[in-house]
């Protein structure tokens, strides 16, 4: 299987570029992928991984000038069907399954065994069982509706489709993103099984642990360019990260300044439906208070009730000593602001300009006069202030947010919050899915805000970030706060132990703190 044996690599990507309006997503990328290996593809968000996958899958066409060769033959899929026929199957993060059809109909979709249009159900079942067995999923019945399956099982169905298609190259895009630990382990086994069968796998992930576990070779993309390809053994964790971000890793958190002052927010025995029970906390000016917990622990809901995104059944909230009934518009009047968890859908308005996104929450108070007439000049000032202060990378403030990178979209969302001059800042997963570089800037932002006396409630799944930034951490489990810890005197293990409560079978990969 060594490279010297054949002239051509199994898959040759040669000088592939892709330009979108205003963005060059890929810039003359050339990568060779050898047969029968697991080839890792890593890079930050926006590095061009997804674009490259889409070109291989026939969902996008590359700019003229480059070429893809599969087994030495020119390969240019114009449609997803072309790619499939050519032997390339792609498993996206969002599955391509028919939830209301049985497993066997999904597995054999488009290649049903039939005679004169009549399906041969016997062959359908046996073929489905055969591939499911290969994937260690013999317990699944071919008649089960796909919509009833767990996420990990649905992914098995996707892989089974690729097997039935006799694909020689399987492209997997962030395959563990939605899986729990056990499901992820099962997936790794299947990847190894497929490799043993001679299938070549292009494994796209930003989880370096998985790359080091699974991949034989790895390629790094950065800003649409191919940086390096090599045997996984030639990399260390640090050298791989450096290749991804293009500079030395700044792993340290910015230093906190100042100590918490007066109380500003108090929750008194708050309950909400079945997700929060009897939750109390106090937050002080200048304090960074983190909330940790597994998914389903209630930490997300805790952030939501304070802002009115989720109704309160019982209990009271006070802001600066005054009773407060949560609702977004009212919260902003009380100078409580909220950075939503789902940045793309809730944090920014994709099709509006950077300018309008930033000014949105303060149009009435800072941009309009008392008759509701907007001043374009004041609006530009409000936006420019935040663009400068947060170093938002955008060609002009009129650019639609949609064309900004994830990190810059998050900065726009932060800018909108900051323009409202908040005293209490509820941040939901502020660095989730954000590049390492911008992540550090956001950490700095959080620390600076606290130093200026703002109270910050940091709701996060990243333990490193919690320990690095917060004064205190509240750990939630099953809708309750079960620990209130000083970050100077605790560690990841202790937080995780509390987060798990008494049960031990609920660990998800989201808490790995990678």
């Amino acid at each position: 299987m060594s490279k010297s044996m054949s002239v051509h690599a199994f898959l040759e990507i040669q000088n592939i570029s892709k330009t979108y309006p205003g963005v060059q997503a890929l810039h003359g990328v050339s990568i060779d992928v050898n047969q029968g290996l697991v080839h890792g593809l890593v890079g930050e968000n926006g590095a061009g991984k997804s674009t490259l996958i889409k070109i291989l899958a026939g969902a996008e066409t590359a700019d003229p000038g480059g070429e893809i060769r599969l087994k030495g033959q020119h390969f240019e899929p114009a449609t997803p069907k072309d790619a499939l026929v050519g032997g390339i199957s792609t498993i996206y993060q969002v599955f391509n399954l028919l939830p209301d059809r049985a497993i066997m109909h999904n597995v054999l979709l488009g290649q049903e065994p039939a005679k004169r249009g009549i399906l041969n159900m016997k062959v359908m079942k046996s073929e489905t069982v055969r591939v499911l067995d290969m994937l260690g999923a013999g317990h699944l019945s071919p008649d089960t509706l796909v919509g009833k399956l767990k996420v990990g099982e649905q992914q098995v169905v996707e892989i089974a489709k690729a097997l039935v298609n006799k694909s020689e190259l399987l492209v997997m895009d962030e395959p563990t993103a939605a899986l729990n630990q056990a499901e992820a382990e099962a997936l790794f086994d299947n990847v190894r099984t497929l490799r043993a069968e001679g299938v070549t796998i292009l494994y796209v992930s930003h989880r370096l642990n998985e790359i080091f576990d699974l991949a034989d070779t790895v390629s790094v993309l950065r800003d649409g360019e191919h940086i390096v390809t090599g045997d996984i053994t030639s990399f260390t964790r640090e050298s791989l990260i450096e290749a991804m971000i293009g500079r030395k890793l700044e792993g340290v958190f910015p230093e906190r300044q100042g100590e918490p002052g007066d109380e500003i927010l108090r929750l008194n025995r708050i309950s909400s439906d079945k997700v929060l029970s009897d939750v109390s906390l106090t937050l002080h000016k200048g304090e960074i208070l983190a909330v940790a917990g597994l998914s389903g622990s209630g930490k997300t809901e805790l952030g939501k009730v304070i802002y009115g995104d989720l109704p309160i059944d019982q209990g009271q909230i006070t802001v600066a000593g005054e009773p407060f009934r949560p609702q977004p518009a009212r919260a902003i009047d009380h100078r409580v602001i909220y950075l939503p968890e789902d940045r793309k859908n809730d944090g920014v308005l994709q099709e509006l300009s950077v300018r309008r996104n930033i000014s949105l929450s303060v149009l009435r108070n800072r941009v309009a006069n008392r008759f509701g007439i907007l001043s374009p000049k004041r609006e530009r000032q409000v936006a420019q202030e935040q663009i400068d202060g947060l170093d938002i990378k955008t060609p002009t403030m009129e650019q639609e947010v949609l064309y900004l990178s994830g990190g810059n979209q998050q900065k726009v969302a932060l800018g909108r919050c900051l323009a409202a001059d908040p005293e209490v800042f509820i941040m939901m997963e502020p660095t989730q899915g954000i590049d390492v570089g911008v992540k550090f800037e956001i950490y700095q932002f959080i620390v600076e805000q606290a130093a200026e006396g703002k109270a910050i409630l940091l709701i996060s799944s990243e333990l490193a970030e919690i320990l690095g930034l917060a004064h205190r951490v509240l750990v939630m489990h099953d809708g309750r706060i079960i620990a209130d810890l000083d970050t100077g005197q605790t560690d990841q293990e202790e937080i995780l132990r509390y987060a798990l409560g008494d049960t031990k079978d609920k660990v998800t990969t989201h808490m790995s703190g990678e």
């Binding site: 518009a329 149009l363 374009p376």
Partner: protein
């Protein structure tokens, strides 16, 4: 120009090109099209559709559709005629009552949509049926006519300086106001934001339900006003007088480039599209096309409008 830019240009401005081509054809094929008299005729005919289209534009910007607008226009039209003919009210008093009725219907639509949470299409389909029924009961199925209606005739037939029709001036003034409101007021900004992403707007502190109710109230008032204009034009009022307006009004807004998903649309393009649609009708009459063939063209225009909408939303 790249292919993507070409598609975007066609999607945004395509109908204007068709408009120009159509005008050139008519100017060459007929003697009467390219005259200033005919231009004012077209604008006068466009005025009521134009006013209705402002209302539809606001609602479509929110990502909703108001199917009750034509019924509001009918009911308010017969009310106007009834109040001045049967009850012998002064036209100004009658107009204020009728506009108030339009506003009230808007409140009802808005509250059903926001409080009860029924989607706008179903809600306004329901209210359209109720209002249509009320209009028939009020008129008893008969045409309302009488001399007092002459007192508002100037709305349709009056001319400023003996040249520019009053109805045309009204239309242009309303468009300028709508344009300024959408671009330079908090309320206008909130409409765009709400139509673009309701949840994110709400989280950003915008009272999205209030924005919706306000918009339906405005839409109700505009439809009522269009009803008054139509009474002035016809000199009579019938329960079905607004029925023919629903279709061209929505066609105009979509043809003008407003996205049915909400959040996107230029009010001045809606105005141009409303005039364009009227020009098509006018041209077909000049060319002697039968009224039935005109319906075929109307349907084709709606599909063309939606095809352009598709072009705009394709992400290339």
């Amino acid at each position: 120009m790249s292919r993507q830019q070409a598609i975007k240009f066609l999607g945004d401005q395509g109908f204007i090109i068709i408009f120009v081509v159509w005008c050139v054809i008519l100017a060459l094929a007929t003697d009467s099209f390219a005259t200033s008299g005919n231009a004012f005729t077209i604008l006068r005919q466009a005025s009521i559709i134009g006013v209705m289209a402002i209302a539809a534009h606001l609602i479509i910007l929110l990502g909703d559709i108001d199917l009750s607008a034509a019924a509001v226009m009918s009911l308010c039209g017969v009310l106007m005629a009834g109040l001045i003919v049967r009850n012998e009210l002064h036209p100004i008093a009658a107009a204020l009552l009728v506009l108030g009725a339009g506003a009230l219907i808007g409140v009802a639509n808005g509250l059903i949509i926001t409080w009860i949470g029924i989607n706008a299409i179903i809600t306004t389909l329901g209210t359209a049926s109720i209002l249509g029924g009320l209009a028939f009961i009020y008129t008893g199925g008969k045409t309302i006519y009488g001399d007092p209606i002459d007192r508002i005739e100037f709305l349709a037939r009056g001319r400023l300086f003996d040249t520019i029709p009053v109805s045309v001036i009204i239309m242009f003034v309303l468009y300028i106001l709508a344009f300024l409101m959408l671009r330079y007021t908090t309320y206008g900004a909130h409409i765009f934001a709400t139509g673009n992403n309701k949840k994110a707007s709400w989280l950003a502190g915008i009272k999205v339900d209030r924005v919706k109710v306000q918009s339906f109230v405005l839409a109700g008032i505009l439809a009522a006003f269009a009803g008054i204009m139509q009474v002035a034009r016809q000199g009579t009022a019938t329960a079905g007088m607004g029925a023919d307006f629903l279709f061209p009004v929505i066609t105009a807004v979509v043809l003008g480039g407003a996205s049915l998903q909400g959040g996107r649309g230029k009010i001045l393009n809606t105005l141009i599209a409303a005039i364009f649609l009227t020009t098509i009708a006018n041209g077909m009459i000049l060319l002697g096309v039968s009224i039935y063939a005109q319906r075929i063209v109307s349907g084709a225009m709606l599909i063309l409008a939606l095809s352009l909408d598709r072009l705009r939303t394709v992400r290339v």
